[in-house]
């Protein structure tokens, strides 16, 4: 009986482990297929949502007490509707989470501003986005433009860098935990 039990338990563990590896493999394969794949943006969408949980936005960042928490996408929407699905029903500090597609100079009311990699040449314009706006980008020059968090692909995985100076400038307090998982903190 004990031997049998061990074998059974071992088999169960093996199956579970196998399942875990299958998922991980699929993930890797899909990332490896190219940065444009929808899977990459699924991850990025999830990351965007997760940022709301590690960063505190001051009350002044919102236009009204009942104003929603807005994640704005500037430039071409690579998320398709992944982000919309992600935020459905989600709240941040009791504020409804919404996704908006915006144009330059129309970024008012955004708490997170995702800048697509095609949107370039801001030349520090992002710095002027004002207090309480977390700018998230995905280009090498993003920090030069004054961005706070920049997505990078490393080892076929989505990582991000943090520009703490920029974060301080916009008055956002980034959790140490967030900094810990960042690839690089400037």
């Amino acid at each position: 009986m004990p031997a049998e039990g061990n074998i059974a338990s071992h088999g169960r563990q093996l199956a579970k482990k196998l399942g875990a590896w299958v998922i991980a493999f699929c993930l890797l394969v899909s990332i490896a297929r190219g940065a444009d794949t929808p899977l990459e943006y699924d991850v990025k969408a999830a990351f965007l949502l997760n940022f709301t949980k590690f960063i505190d936005w001051p009350e002044s960042a919102f236009s009204a007490p009942d104003a929603p928490f807005a994640i704005c996408i500037l430039g071409p929407d690579a998320f398709k509707n992944a982000l919309d699905k992600m935020v459905e029903g989600e709240t941040v500090n009791a504020r409804k989470l919404v996704v908006r597609r915006v144009q330059r100079q129309q970024t008012g009311g955004c708490q997170i501003l995702f800048v697509s990699k095609s949107e370039k040449n801001f030349s520090t314009a992002l710095a002027g986005e004002g207090m309480g706006v977390l700018t998230v980008g995905e280009s090498d020059s993003f920090f030069r433009d004054g961005g706070v968090i920049n997505f990078v692909i490393e080892n076929k995985r989505v990582r991000f860098d943090v520009n703490q100076t920029a974060a301080k400038r916009v008055g956002l307090d980034l959790s140490s935990k967030l900094l810990q998982v960042a690839r690089k903190v400037d």
Binding site: K17, I23, A24, K177
Partner: protein
């Protein structure tokens, strides 16, 4: 292992101390161990839960952002705890984000608890499962497996510590107790030593040393008191023993004195136990019989008694043993050369303070020569007696003729004889009559000397009645009152007893005074003999004549006043002595007289006539 009960107290104390100490320590150790393992487990659970929670909390970002490296680093901190076998951080869908495996351990993730938040002791250790929660949402699970080696180690460590403490404390207890137990053991050893030396030497003056004031000290005091008691009793006993030895020596000396005396006498001496077993014969016996003491002791002496004497001898001896009366006996002993010699034995009993016979002592004198002379004399006497009897008998006939014819002459020739002739004839007939009486009495006297050898018993009352019948005329004449008590049977010839009665009663009638004669006959037991008495109220006898009256022809009075030949009492004495008895008189002049005579209860060998020949 020897029984604890038999161990010396010193070791017993040590064992008790060690066992007690060890038991107490063992119990304390087990208590601590159990207490510790229970509390340690609880503490360990809390501790691990907290640690897992910290990792879970810290790994929220890593899980959120799929940062496997950061998560792995976080788990890597668990390396500091070598008993953590493995730990995993998994996502909500069950996929593993990061894992930690102790080097050498199997690379499995422990199975997370279905509740996702608890700690369970499983077969391979403690499994702690904590949820990873971010903003009230569960984003993953933290699981760790903790082997229980630490608990075992801890138990081992504690056991080792308890053992070490036990060893050290036992050693300490041993060292301490070895000096402490002296306090108890030394006084006991002292006491034991004292008792041992007392029992070995028997010296009761030894005293145990008192070393403490406790119960042991009390015991020593009591022991010493007891010894003192024993000592004084021992001294008393020794003294008593010395006294007893002295008494025994004294008895021994007495016995030696008696032996010396007995051995130095020419007589044969013996002593016997109360039951008649002879336990001593002096040397004279052994020389005479030529036998050893062993042969003749107890009743072995009967072998040298003449067969004709033995039956009588044994009867006399046994009767003496029964009554305790001394006796004398004549019998013949066989000498070493086979010849029998006459001996006279005197046997006396010795009585103790309570009056019981303690021993018999006998002396035996050789009377053989004397006996032979007596027999010669007896023969001569018998001849003489035969002659006297024949003479008296033959004399009766002629004297009767003298009497008859002188009376005939007096009748027929009364007118022929003158006055002188008649007076002479009167003298002649008177003399003849007296001579006839005299001869008749002499005949009776000689008859008294002839007795039967083995007389049959006779009723003395019947004999007395015959006597009184013979004396009826005289009694009637004197108007006498004769009375008598119950009288016994005696072993003697009826004729002899009648002679005695008749003579004594006729004497009493004869020597009366003016009053009516009163005569009383009685008999009482006196030792082994009957003592008869004949009492009268006559004239009595002056004490100076008390012996003389028993002689032949001894008369105190002239024939005119009291008739008689003076031979009656001589006959009585002759008869009584023949039967081994005695005769005597008690009297006061004018106050009557009482004649006594004794007859042995059982027939005695008839005494030799020579015995009283001197009296004749």
């Amino acid at each position: 292992m020897p029984n604890l009960r038999d161990m010396p107290i010193k070791r017993k104390l040590m064992v008790i101390i060690l066992v007690t100490t060890t038991a107490a320590l063992l119990l304390a150790g087990i208590g601590i161990l159990v207490f510790d393992s229970v509390f340690f487990k609880a503490q360990l659970q809390n501790d691990l839960r907290a640690q897992a929670q910290i990792i879970a909390d810290n790994s929220t970002a890593a899980v959120s952002f799929e940062d496997e490296k950061s998560a792995t680093e976080m788990l890597g901190a668990l390396r500091e705890r070598p008993h953590i076998v493995s730990a995993c951080i998994s996502r909500t869908d069950g996929t593993i984000l990061a894992s930690y495996v102790r080097p050498g351990a199997p690379a499995d993730c422990p199975a997370a608890s279905p509740t996702g938040n608890d700690s369970v002791f499983a077969a391979d250790g403690l499994v702690v499962t904590r949820p990873i929660v971010l903003k009230d949402r569960r984003i993953g699970t933290m699981v760790l497996l903790y082997d229980l080696g630490e608990i075992d180690e801890r138990i081992k460590l504690f056991s080792g510590a308890v053992l070490a403490v036990m060893v050290v404390s036992s050693l300490l207890a041993f060292l301490l107790s070895s000096s402490l137990r002296e306090v108890i053991a030394t006084p006991i050893s002292q006491l034991v030593r004292a008792t041992k030396s007392v029992s070995e030497t028997g010296d009761y003056s030894i005293r145990a040393q008192k070393l403490s004031g406790d119960e042991l000290g009390l015991l020593v005091d009591r022991f010493n008191e007891m010894l003192a008691g024993v000592q004084s009793r021992d001294n008393d006993l020794k003294k008593a023993l010395l006294d007893r030895e002295a008494a025994i020596r004294e008895v021994d000396r007495e016995r030696q004195r008696f032996r010396f005396m007995a051995e130095s006498l020419p007589q044969k001496i013996f002593t016997a136990k109360p039951n008649g077993d002879v336990d001593y014969f002096n040397q004279q016996w052994l020389e005479f019989t030529g036998l050893t003491f062993e042969q003749i002791k107890d009743w072995g002496w009967t072998q040298f008694i003449h067969p004709d004497d033995l039956e009588e001898n044994l009867r006399t001896w046994k009767q003496a043993i029964a009554t305790g009366e001394p006796f004398r006996f004549e019998h013949r002993f066989r000498r070493a050369d086979g010849k029998f010699r006459w001996h006279l034995s005197h046997v006396h009993s010795m009585r103790d303070a309570d009056g019981n016979i303690s021993m018999w002592i006998g002396s035996n004198t050789d009377i053989h020569e004397q006996k032979e002379k007596e027999e010669d004399l007896q023969r001569a006497n018998d001849d003489l007696q035969q002659f006297a009897y024949s003479a008296s008998h033959d004399l009766q006939e002629p004297i009767r003729n003298v009497a008859v014819y002188s009376e005939l002459v007096a009748k027929r020739y009364h007118g022929v004889l003158d006055a002188d002739g008649q007076q002479f004839l009167g003298f002649l007939s008177e003399g003849g009559r007296r001579l006839a009486t005299l001869i008749s009495d002499l005949l009776a006297y000689t008859k008294a000397g002839m007795v039967e050898v083995n007389p049959a018993p006779v009723d003395s009352a019947a004999v007395l009645q015959h006597s009184l019948a013979s004396l009826a005329e005289a009694i009637r004449e004197s108007d006498a009152a004769v009375t008598y008590d119950a009288l016994p049977e005696v072993y003697m010839s009826e004729a002899h007893l009648q002679q005695v009665f008749q003579n004594l009663i006729s004497n009493a009638l004869k020597y009366r005074n003016q009053d009516q004669p009163r005569i009383h006959i009685s008999a009482i037991r006196n030792g082994s003999a009957w003592r008869f008495s004949v009492q009268d109220n006559g004239i009595g006898i002056d004490s100076q004549y008390k012996e003389r009256i028993f002689g032949v022809f001894k008369r105190l009075h002239n024939t005119h006043k009291y008739s008689g030949t003076g031979i009656g009492l001589a006959i009585c004495q002759r008869v009584v002595k023949r039967y081994g008895g005695q005769i005597w008189v008690e009297s006061e002049p004018g106050a009557g007289a009482t004649f006594f005579f004794t007859i042995p209860q059982y027939a005695q060998r008839v005494r030799a006539a020579a015995d009283e020949s001197s009296a004749g």
